[in-house]
């Protein structure tokens, strides 16, 4: 790891001021991704701004319409929240399937969404539920936020403050975890919402995406049978040492059907 300076501010205003003043700073949340990248010397920030003491950006609140999760909330807190389990059980389930318990104690939703790994789980929940990403300067609908592999709509030095998930009528997440890393080889989030059915797929393509053909079919007939034969485009699937694009396309159909069955159940 290269040298850097470390800062631990207490307010968002201090974070913003540091980001503006320092040479090439980076925000540090749980560090589960950033520190690994720095160890490999793939990132060399001049300064790390640790968000752990910043007030007002961690914690969970649930009202009649939304589940709101602060950026610095760790995966374990979402997975073990009774309020989340009641309002959107699929979201608590998803958080409890990220990595392992040790990673879940440190990794945060803000860090996961900011990083936007093509195999990460939370992007599927954000896109599947039609969440809103709230930053220090604006509100970004999930549909506009995810821009492909490790790309998001975040501007330089923009800070995610919280994520607002509208409570659906029903939802389910199914993932086929990579047996070594637990990241999604393919993960599918299906939600029945007031605005219609949404199907979001992670792990399969170069970034999370919606399967609109499945959404249309499910709007007419919400059953696993309704999406029989609807497949993800093989030529757009990822291909790596873990799985071929054909395999990922096939897994997408299987995971989608299981998720649909999970919603109906």
């Amino acid at each position: 790891m290269y040298q850097f300076e470390y800062h631990r501010p207490k307010t968002l205003d201090e974070v913003t001021a540091l980001l503006a003043r320092l040479e090439s700073p980076k925000i540090l949340a749980g560090g589960m991704t950033l520190l690994a990248t720095m160890k490999q010397r793939l990132a060399a920030p001049s300064d790390l701004i640790d968000l752990q003491d910043v007030t007002g950006i961690a914690g969970i609140s649930v009202d009649a319409k939304n589940v709101t999760i602060g950026a610095m909330t760790c995966h374990h807190d979402v997975a073990s929240s009774k309020d989340v389990a009641k309002a959107i059980p699929a979201l608590a389930y998803l958080a409890g399937r990220i990595g392992d318990p040790l990673v879940r104690h440190r990794g945060t939703i803000g860090g996961s969404i900011a990083n936007n790994d093509p195999s990460a789980d939370y992007p599927a929940a954000c896109l599947g539920l039609g969440a809103t990403i709230v930053t220090n300067s604006r509100e970004i609908p999930a549909d506009d936020y995810f821009r492909g592999m490790f790309e998001t709509a975040l501007k330089e030095n923009e800070i995610i403050v919280k994520i607002v998930f509208p409570i659906p009528q029903g939802a389910a997440y199914q993932k086929f975890p990579n047996p070594a890393s637990r990241y999604a080889m393919v993960g599918v989030f299906v939600a029945k919402t007031a605005a219609g059915v949404r199907v979001a797929v992670t792990g399969a393509g170069p970034g999370v995406f919606r399967m609109t053909a499945m959404e249309t079919a499910l709007a007419k007939n919400f059953s696993a049978a309704a999406i029989d034969g609807i497949t993800a485009p093989v030529e757009e699937m990822l291909q790596d040492m873990h799985a071929s694009s054909e395999y990922r396309a096939a897994l997408t159909s299987v995971m989608a059907k299981r998720a649909v069955a999970g919603v109906s159940a």
């Binding site: 790891m1 040298q3 560090g31 790390l48 040790l102 990673v103 104690h105």
Partner: protein, 153 residues
């Protein structure tokens, strides 16, 4: 260099370190607490698990500075004098180790698991161990030891 202070195994400690110092190196090299191991250095294996403010974490992926002011517990802080912690005792009793390299991390993870889930079944134990690798035992006796510990804790 910066002075980083925290409480480790009930004792107030401090050391002058670079900001890039990892918690595991702070423990091993500055405090000579070498019970915490480094297996992979890439957050995969769990040999480096310690508790920070009561939660099990991989100390190879935490900066010492992130833990400044925290309460840290390592494998050295588990036993009560000569009396082993029930999870340590169970690992000994049920042969939950062979070479012992993964053991400190396994035990710290197990203690954390039993804090959150007092009576886990075998499937739960296996899932909860997903962040800890053992190259020797095949996990069977580790799972047995944790189950046994859950019955006496």
């Amino acid at each position: 260099m910066t002075v980083v202070a925290m409480q480790v195994n009930g004792k107030q400690v401090s050391a002058d370190v670079e900001p890039r110092t990892l918690l595991v190196h702070y423990l091993r090299e500055n405090l000579q607490l070498t019970g915490t191991h480094v297996g992979c250095d890439t957050s995969q294996c769990g040999a480096c698990v310690v508790h920070v403010d009561g939660k099990a974490v991989k100390s190879c992926t935490v900066l010492a500075m992130q833990a400044a002011g925290a309460l840290v517990r390592t494998i050295e802080g588990l036993a009560d004098g000569d009396k082993l912690h029930p999870v340590q005792e169970a690992f000994k009793e049920h042969h939950g180790l062979q070479c012992g390299f993964c053991t400190p991390g396994m035990i710290m993870t197990a203690v954390d698991m039993l804090r959150r889930i007092p009576k886990p079944d075998e499937t739960t134990i296996r899932h909860e161990l997903e962040g800890n690798f053992c190259r020797c035992t095949g996990y069977h006796n580790i799972v047995k030891a944790i189950k046994a510990a859950s019955e006496v804790l």
